[in-house]
């Protein structure tokens, strides 16, 4: 799975689950998801479960930090690095 696919997948999931009705173009790759309150703790857990299932990775609790999840771009980088390490 390449970075573009991961970004698309993550964006679709976030729009569908957390921002229903939001226009897709308003959610950019650099939108701050944690800082802006889109990804709260519950949403983070949902997203993690989804990423683990869809991308075949395992995420540890201490990896739930803004550096990994604060934007769609960071999510894609994080998933790719996890895939590379497994």
């Amino acid at each position: 799975m390449n970075a573009i696919q991961i970004r698309t997948m993550a964006k679709d999931f976030i729009l569908k689950e957390f921002l229903p009705g939001e226009r897709p173009e308003n959610l950019t790759d650099s939108t701050e998801l944690i800082t802006d309150g889109i990804l709260d703790s519950l949403a983070t857990l949902k997203l993690v479960a989804y990423l683990e299932k869809s991308c075949g990775i395992e995420i540890a609790p201490d990896e739930l930090v803004p550096e990994n999840l604060n934007s769609i771009a960071q999510i894609a980088n994080f998933v790719q690095s996890k895939q590379a390490s497994t």
Partner: protein, 860 residues
């Protein structure tokens, strides 16, 4: 970026090739000016301890230099400033609060030394598990010292400061060290633990180490600095609101008599949390000035639209800490049993950990434990509410929006409605948490259905609360809170508002703006309730931690509030003897001790006075004075009490009055209430054959009297009075009930009890042919009326003398024994003696003395 067209400064050092930051002399001036305004505001309104003013001055001086430093020098410079701040705050710790001493530097050095050892343990070259074990061992050793089981070479002032730096940050730091992260530099570590404003704020936000590092200059630096300034002013506004709530809206459970009181009782405890959020904004604001672009600690928590939202908005750093250390690890461990089980278990356990860690925090800051049912139930009820809410959100989702987005009117109205509901529930829960006992909290609901005396109705209050909470919630949901940042606009608005606030804070300005403004400013400037109110109020978990200095005399000195070591109540000294009946205490005959900085001697009869024969000699006019702490002379020397001054003056100036000698016997005891005074009068005073009795009293004494009566009913000593037996029988109150509940039930009978006590005093005196005077003596900072007490005294048959205005023309702050103690000092006692003499002269028809003309009052 700044919106400022200014020439870049040329600097004396060579430019760092990696540095692309702009420097602007205008921006420097703008931020320095705003910071100076902020310091002036804190100083003029006494918003915090003087320790904060000192730290802010260090920060201001440091910032002026820091701004021009190359980036690589800034963090080490910040560390040096942090150490300088610790020294600046501790430098005046000494045995005498009047003078600056340098012994405090030793304490400051201990803080740094212990801190370095603790940080060193985390970096020992041994397995992580052993390092944790070593930390726990060090913690146990320190805990033993905290409980005074082990003697330490440092004073107790060190504990709250050391604890606030290390009790949580070490946990976060060790957690991060366990992960194989990029090694932090020495400066980063020292800056994290000893960060600049910490020394004057024992209750400090749990800053995350990772965030602390990653936020460092992660945006345009002028934006970071200006955000810090904005947050500091925001904190100041919250502290001002807190003071107003504290002075105007706090109501004791015993005073809750109707529905309006009940609503007030439910709402104020939650509003007092403004003190915590205000100080946290100031703390993070100061850190911004040195490049730490930390996130908000609180975000409009009064406008939470659900319980999970409340948990996310209030004390955000705490929430993040618990999520990181407890919640996520537990959730991941439990999730093999399913999402719901993991969510419910992890949430409940996270709140259990929160409760335990709040107790842990209390222990380190206060040195005691605070296990109470209110506390436990508060956290558990909140846990259940958040868990149910989180489970619902997990199943059904929650409405979120991107920055700048807005909900539909329908959605916004629903959000506003939910916000009002959450606010009401949290208020209820917070008042429960702050109540002194569970039965006391439940007992206030007896007043449901009891109408208040004024025109205000509960419906009106509820509508007002709904509007105050609902309208901003609606605006927020409609996207009203999102604005584009502009440095220039921010500087202009903060600068102008700050300047206006500072101007109004100046006495020379606000005294000309009318009585309302002047009174409001006086309320804001008074940091604490007076001692009477303090004695009556339980103020909740955070109130006791943010004011931790007030409970730690050494730290109080360090913080410039300078509370003296020997500043206990009279009943904690060897001068006092507890009777377990009425009066509650007697003074121990022939005892002497240091009390509130003065040597106090008690005569053979148990009076703070010179020695007298039990029966007055012929030709002597004897006056017995009864009352409490002001008359006793707390904080002044034996020869400085106003009754002693009056006696000397009578003897010096009334030589031709027909009496050879005057004796004024002081039967006052600090802490006495009218019930004690009645008892001592009957049991002791009359046996000394006085010709007159002077009963000296203040205003608003009924609540304290009821508190004492509740105890006296419980131990049976109050039943010596028929009027108490009658009231207990009539009211049907249960003497075995909780003391606070009993006090509340007695409140409607307060006036009747006071009248009965006064009548009995007058009757007892008249039976012995003694003339009785009731003398109203205001406190230096008196703000309540004594009309009720004066009326009751007159109706009972006292001759009423009024010393109102005794302190007129003087700044009452200059007449206090100490900044934290509202008893009059020696100058205050001189004024009282003069005024009393003057009033006695005016009432020679009641008090047949041929007194000489009183001289003009001396200027202070």
């Amino acid at each position: 970026m700044l919106g400022l067209d200014v020439k870049t400064l040329s600097l004396p050092w060579s430019a760092d090739p990696t540095e692309t930051e702009s420097r602007s002399i205008l921006a420097w001036f703008a931020i320095t000016g705003q910071l100076a305004l902020f310091i002036a505001l804190v100083y003029l309104l006494r918003l915090e301890t003087t320790a904060l003013v000192r730290v802010l001055l260090v920060a201001l001086a440091g910032w002026c230099v820091h701004y021009f430093l190359p980036q690589r020098y800034r963090l080490p410079f910040f560390v040096l400033l942090s150490f300088a701040a610790i020294a600046a705050v501790f430098v005046n710790l000494g045995p005498n609060w009047h003078h600056w001493r340098f012994e405090g530097v030793i304490d400051a050095a201990w803080i740094v030394a212990i801190g370095l050892v603790l940080i060193g343990i985390v970096h020992l070259p041994i397995a992580f598990g052993w390092r944790v074990l070593a930390l726990v061992g060090a913690g146990c050793g320190l805990a033993a010292a905290r409980m005074d089981w082990i003697a330490t070479p440092w004073t107790r002032a060190v504990w709250p400061v050391l604890a606030s730096m290390f009790m949580f940050r070490l946990i976060v730091y060790a957690y991060e060290m366990r992960r194989d992260q990029k090694m932090a530099t020495v400066s980063e570590r020292l800056a994290y633990f000893f960060m600049l404003p910490n020394v004057c704020f024992p209750l400090f936000p749990v800053v995350d180490f990772r965030t602390f590092r990653s936020s460092y200059y992660n945006a345009d630096r002028h934006y970071i600095y200006q955000t810090g300034i904005q947050w500091m002013f925001r904190g100041a506004v919250q502290l001002i609101c807190y003071r107003i709530v504290y002075q105007r809206f706090v109501i004791d459970a015993a005073d809750v008599q109707n529905q309006i009181d009940l609503l007030q009782f439910i709402i104020w405890p939650f509003l007092l949390y403004l003190k915590v959020s205000g100080t946290f904004h100031i703390i993070t604001g100061i850190l911004h000035l040195f490049g730490f672009n930390l996130p908000e600690t609180h975000n409009l928590y009064f406008l939470s639209s659900s319980f999970t939202d409340f948990w996310r908005r209030i004390n955000i750093y705490w929430k993040d800490f618990i999520m990181k250390i407890v919640y996520y690890p537990l959730y991941f461990r439990f999730r093999r049993w399913g999402e719901s089980v993991a969510l419910v278990s992890a949430t409940l356990l996270a709140f259990l950990a929160t409760w335990l860690l709040h107790n842990y925090q209390w222990f380190w800051l206060r040195g005691t434990w605070v296990f109470t049912w209110n506390d436990f139930l508060f956290w558990m009820i909140l846990a259940v509410l958040v868990t149910i809410n989180a489970h619902y959100e997990m199943r059904h989702g929650r409405t979120r929006r991107l920055r700048g987005g807005a909900l539909s009117w329908n959605g916004a109205l629903q959000t506003a409605g939910r916000t009002i509901g959450v606010f009401v529930v949290i208020c209820l829960l917070w008042s429960f948490w702050s109540a002194s006992s569970i039965p006391q909290w439940f007992s206030v609901f007896d007043t449901v259905g009891v109408e208040g005396p004024g025109k205000t109705t509960p419906a009106l209050v509820l509508v007002a609360v709904a509007a105050i909470i609902g309208i901003p919630a609606l605006a927020l949901a409609r996207g009203g809170g999102d604005r584009q940042y502009s440095f220039r606009r921010s500087v202009a608005s903060v600068g102008v508002c700050g300047l206006i606030a500072v101007c109004i804070s100046l006495p020379v300005v606000h005294d000309r703006l009318g009585e309302t403004v002047s009174t409001a400013m006086a309320d804001i400037r008074v940091p604490t309730l007076n001692s009477r109110d303090n004695a009556n109020l339980e103020r909740g978990y955070y109130e006791n931690l943010v004011n931790v200095g007030a409970f730690n005399p050494e730290l109080w000195i360090v913080y410039g509030q300078q509370r003296h070591d020997g500043w206990d109540n009279l009943d904690k000294t060897p001068l006092s003897e507890f009777t377990g009946a009425l009066p509650t205490t007697y003074l121990r005959p022939l005892s002497q001790a240091d009390f509130k900085g003065k040597r106090v001697h008690i005569n053979r009869w148990g009076m703070r006075d010179q020695d007298y024969e039990k029966i007055p000699s012929p030709g002597t006019l004897r006056i017995a004075v009864v009352g409490s702490s002001h008359l006793f002379g707390e904080g002044v020397a034996d020869e400085e009490t106003f009754e002693g001054l009056l006696e000397r003056r009578l003897n010096a100036q009334a030589a031709d009055s027909g009496y050879r000698h005057y004796e004024v016997l002081n039967f006052a005891v600090g802490g006495y209430v009218p019930l004690d005074i009645l008892a001592i009068l009957e049991d002791r005073v009359l046996a000394f054959k006085p010709k007159y009795i002077f009963y000296v009293e203040h205003s608003a004494l009924i609540p304290r009297m009821l508190k004492r009566l509740a105890t006296a009913i419980q131990n049976g000593s109050a039943y010596r009075y028929d009027f108490v037996r009658d009231i207990v029988r009539e009211s049907g109150i249960d003497p075995s009930a909780d003391r606070e509940v009993l006090q509340r039930k007695l409140t409607p009978y307060g006036e009747r009890l006071q009248r009965a006590i006064y009548s009995r005093i007058v009757e007892a005196a008249k039976r012995e042919g003694v003339g009785v005077f009731w003398i109203y003596l205001p406190r230096p900072d008196e703000r309540t009326s004594a009309e009720l007490e004066k009326r009751l005294a007159a109706e009972a048959g006292f001759n009423v003398l009024d010393l109102s205005g005794v302190y007129d023309g003087y700044d009452w702050r200059t007449l206090l024994v100490a900044p934290w103690d509202d008893h009059p000092n020696a100058a205050g006692h001189r004024l009282v003696a003069d005024k009393l003499y003057e009033v006695l002269q005016q009432h020679q028809d009641l008090f047949p003395l041929n007194l000489a003309v009183a001289p003009q009052r001396e200027e202070q």
